[in-house]
Symmetry: C2
Subunit: 697 residues, 2 copies
């Protein structure tokens, strides 16, 4: 991986507008990734007006519309990609997700309702069930004859699925499961398709047989008859209006002695024989639980991709508008386009860099997902890595999505607030992406725990001397960072040469080392603090962990960001030399150095950056932003979304027309010779006249 040289690294020179441009078509193709046909076909679907979100609809009409849209997807054959070939599916897991996440461009409610039906309800039957369930239930699910509910979350238990209250008790006499909701907190809640359309549900419940509780398992449970009435023992409520995604009928369900046949247990990872004997291919109840949940990782994968897509839409709108909208007269007397303001550049261009990073990182995630789910690379280690990767990326991309939508909204001012300009509508819908399919903080904590256990691995088999040495090195690190001694050394070396600092910062090896060091140091710090936890009482150990929770989550975030940076860097390394690669390298540097700037105090305090080098980080980023500004329009065009996907009147060229008309009017006024003159000019004229009169007097 070579670094593109920059001809004039002196920071104080004005930046010449770039003459040559990037290859938008080629870059656009790159961004389509590994499944370009599937992605393009889904975009073509999302371009159909009947699949678009209509912001004027109230909740009931929006729900009807989206239900109808699901039927259109079925007619299009757009929903079967992941299902078994023998049932008419495509067994194409990566392509399926690539296509699925593009539905967000039509209407996020459509995306998520499709996700409930085929990604959660259908996938649960496919991955947790066996041949009988596939043959019996999948055809109706695929055809939408049976709209279904994925009944996992309860009012009282969201993130802690293992503690749900619903029970499924085996009745050996009847050879049936008896499903029960023992208290209000155990009502199933926030379930798509539950309020209206669902006819059946995959219900997660504590499996009890022979008076032993075998933990959470999934059961196929019919819930409504053909007239839409609840079946006996089943009740529920509508969740009502939500902050977004109002095209989905979320609701609550509860069960009172609801009976289903023994075979309705989705029994791939745990089965009960007629006599009530429980068997499972996985002995450890804990590992079994996580294996079952792990089969549903695709939800997280697809939210990651959908958030990247929404960020692209937001930036295409905001950058287009900022390139056309003018406000306040500039140095040449003409009004200045917003994107020529330093602040406006600083708001949008770094987010553009992050969006590219996240786009490349998502593609890696998608490939890893496909490798595991296609069976090509399906090992326990790869599954675990996939789950960790998804848990690291989904929080960062969903937060980036709503943050970018919000900044785009504000950057477009009052116009950004109108539904006709899309942004607020996407913002409302994407909000929940940060807490569903795994609360972002809980996911990052999972990643943090994985980092801790990987860290502990290095001590395995090490003798006492080695452990002492490793810990001593960490202590030295602490001593150095505490005293700032390392910093002093760097200050002496670096004094006076900012250009040399920039050269150093631009090197990918430098950025990589700095980003990696932060992950490693944070993890080892937490590990050191938790080292003696085993000696403490349980409450003391829990309190100790809780105090260190923010740092552990910060370590996980830094880890995810490092992965994004690596994905961006890998993507560049495969590109031919030329303008496009150069611009993307600037964009990667802006992203990488942005991560370092966000944590500049940490780098300074740990002695990893001297003051001159730290100052060079910000100065060089400013320089990069100015460099990238002329390419901003090309970079959002390369996302490949057309007007039928963008659908924002301020990004349609209407603003340019208005500005041209206004400027033409002003020019004609000036040239007419009889336009009203400004009071100020008149005052100056009068003053001159009076002076002349005074001189003549």
């Amino acid at each position: 991986m070579s670094d593109i040289s920059i001809n004039d690294p002196e920071l104080d020179e004005p930046v010449a507008l770039e003459q040559s441009r990037i290859d938008v078509g080629w870059l656009s193709q790159q961004l389509l990734g590994t499944w370009p046909e599937e992605r393009l076909r889904a975009r073509a679907n999302s371009a159909r007006p009947e699949l678009w979100r209509d912001p004027a609809l109230a909740m009931p009409e929006h729900r009807d519309r989206v239900m109808g849209q699901l039927r259109i997807l079925v007619e299009e054959g757009a929903v079967n990609l992941a299902f078994p070939k023998r049932l008419g599916g495509g067994e194409n897991h990566g392509g399926n997700i690539a296509a699925f996440e593009e539905l967000v461009v039509a209407d996020p409610s459509l995306q998520i309702k499709a996700g409930v039906q085929w990604g959660l309800f259908g996938s649960a039957v496919m991955h947790l069930g066996t041949e009988y369930h596939h043959d019996t239930f999948l055809p109706g699910i695929m055809s939408l004859e049976v709209p279904g509910v994925y009944a996992m979350t309860e009012t009282g238990h969201g993130s802690d699925v293992a503690s749900i209250g619903t029970t499924a008790t085996y009745d050996q006499g009847a050879q049936e499961w008896v499903i029960n909701t023992p208290f209000r907190g155990a009502w199933k809640d926030y379930l798509g398709n539950a309020a209206l359309h669902g006819k059946a549900a995959v219900v997660f419940a504590q499996l009890i047989t022979k008076n032993v509780k075998h933990g959470v398992h999934a059961f196929y449970v019919p819930i409504r008859d053909d007239e839409g009435r609840f079946l006996p023992g089943i009740g529920g409520e509508d969740d009502g209006v939500k902050g977004g995604l109002n095209g989905i009928d979320n609701g609550r369900l509860h069960f009172t002695e609801v009976r289903v046949p023994r075979r309705n247990l989705l029994n791939r990872y745990g089965d009960v024989a007629e006599d009530g004997t429980y068997t499972s291919p996985i002995k450890s109840p804990g590992r079994r639980f996580f294996t079952m949940l792990g089969t549903l990782v695709q939800g997280r994968v697809s939210l990651d991709g959908a958030s990247v897509a929404a960020s692209k839409i937001a930036l295409k709108i905001a950058v287009t508008y900022a390139n056309e909208r003018r406000q306040f007269a500039g140095g040449d007397g003409e009004e200045t386009v917003l994107l020529d303001y330093g602040m406006h550049q600083k708001r949008l261009i770094p987010r553009l860099a992050t969006t590219y990073a996240l786009s490349f990182a998502h593609e890696n995630l998608l490939k890893q997902f496909h490798g595991v789910f296609s069976g090509e690379l399906d090992t326990p280690e790869n599954r675990e890595d996939l789950e960790t990767l998804a848990a690291a990326l989904k929080p960062l991309s969903t937060w980036h999505g709503i943050n970018t939508l919000q900044e785009a909204r504000e950057a477009c001012g009052g116009a950004g607030f109108l539904a006709e300009n899309r942004i607020t509508q996407l913002r409302h819908d994407l909000d929940i992406y940060t807490t569903f399919e795994g609360d972002n903080h809980v996911l990052l904590q999972l990643v943090g725990k994985r980092l801790l256990s990987d860290y502990a691995e290095q001590f395995k088999g090490a003798d006492r001397g080695e452990v002492t040495r490793i810990i001593a090195e960490q202590t030295a690190e602490r001593v150095f960072s505490g005293s700032g001694l390392r910093g002093i050394g760097q200050i002496v070396i670096d004094r006076g040469s900012r250009a040399r600092s920039v050269g150093w910062l631009r090197q990918p090896a430098t950025q990589h080392e700095l980003l990696t060091a932060r992950v490693e140091t944070l993890v080892s710090e937490v590990a050191a603090k938790l080292r003696n936890a085993k000696k403490l009482s349980k409450p003391e150990a829990a309190a100790l962990f809780n105090r260190n929770q923010p740092t552990l989550i910060e370590a996980a975030r830094a880890h995810g960001q490092l992965l994004q940076w690596e994905a961006f860097t890998d993507a560049i390394s495969g590109m031919p030399e030329g303008k496009t690669r150069q611009v993307l390298t600037w964009l990667r540097d802006l992203f990488g150095l942005g991560l370092i700037e966000e944590n500049l105090a940490w780098y300074l305090m740990s002695g990893r950056l001297s003051v001159p080098r730290a100052q060079a980080v910000s100065a060089y980023r400013e320089r990069l932003i100015a460099r990238l500004r002329p390419h901003a329009a090309d970079l959002v065009d390369a996302f490949g979304y057309g007007p039928e996907h963008i659908r924002a009147s301020i990004a349609s060229g209407a603003e340019r027309e208005r500005q041209d008309e206004a400027r033409a009017y002003m020019r004609a006024q000036r040239e007419s010779g009889n336009a009203p003159i400004e009071e100020k000019a008149m005052q100056a004229e009068e003053k001159l006249k009076q002076q002349k009169a005074g001189a003549n007097a």
Copy 2:
């Protein structure tokens, strides 16, 4: 102002749960501020169900409902506080805003539609018009007989009001104004009451008489007849659905040769005689324009207060839920309440501290507003200070509002997304507060320019030698901060004593000095960079300014934060010694040190904080958060909002009931003796049995 001593400043000791509590009733009274009766009366109104927002309503019904709510306010006599006594008003400007901003608690659409009618349309007639206009137009405005539009913003000009395109040309023959929209960009846009309800408008237009353009003035223009049809020459459009505030009928207006009588010019700051002669008490067109706009500062004042109120609602909901909601078993086997997690504390408690700071700062703003508008303290300097203060505080509080609402939403998980829990609804409505009544970035830039001109004042009258000295000192500063030499000095002094660092950081004088230094240094840096702008060509000077725009805006932000910190500190200094003062001092320290932590790299690089002191900032903040955790519920209760204002089912005690019921069920199960046993326990039992069997064999 004395500092509360803390008994055990050692950071690594566990914090004992505080035994004594703050005086919630007394603090609540303090927070009601200078106009407690007006505020409480408005809260009593906002508690009436007929004034509440109903999230299920589609836009047309929501608009109708809010229009009806305005009539209720008229019946209540709740809208006349600011108007002249001789017309039935109260001439109580501070009390009026205090009451007005509490309407946000009922429905932000109600607040803003009331603001359009009485705060903008009515205020423009009052402040820009004279006796004739007051007598003729105010009664109909006050009684809502004439719902009105404040027609300032145009599609093409938002922040740059001086450049609007609409013209009002004096026709001496007819003694009328002819109002015209010359091109599409000059359509008035985003105007509340324009789409449906408005019967008249205050239209801002370029006043032209005798072929001289005298700049922007306001005209009273009837726009609809009694049947709601546009009058001749007037046209418009509905802005349609928005990202929030859908109870308001925003729309567009345009004018084709619309004629109004000469006297319909609101002529306080500029008048035209029958013969077309223009006169004004303010000679400079620029100063006249800013004086006219300055009379409308109350919009910014009230958005500042409303955002603080919304932040209080958000935190009351999120903290209450976090104190009741349990998830994941803790050290004692019971599930842990969310607010006992370190990360959850870090998300909510610093925002609580900021909300207190903003609440006290808003009260200062309100008092200053009242002083100027009541005439008691009405000097040009005070007006200018008021405008700068409003421009500094409104951006920070409106951003804090939406940020706090978003964090509260996520902290409440899926429940936070339901409309029944309020947060998303407030979030949608408050979004636009960040860009209306002055785009936040544009306002901060205004503040920055004021700081720059204050900075330049110090050079006025200074001889060349003094100027050289002042500039030389700044250069020395730059040299020091560049090389980190100051830092080295501090490192040597501070090494090893974090406790001493904490003692130093806790001193208000330290915090004040650090916060002030940042403002001063940023301003002087920008000033130094712009020093030679006058020697440059206009385009070069504009480019130079644009490059420095982000730093200038950052200086303005730092200035606003300093004012918030000072307001918080002043509020504490007036409190009697005791627990409440102690807790609020912790909260102030958390706020102040939070501002410093956000810019820790800057403090390190400028040599103002050594590494040990910088490390102590974060360590001490962690400690403060843990200290404040037991007081979080009291601190949100002191905001003084009851269930009729909060209206979130998750903050109603329902969650505690659910948790209690679930725990009682689990306890009963355990105690019954015949509950199913866990598979894990059974496995352990079986293993034991096998071992015994092996031993017996």
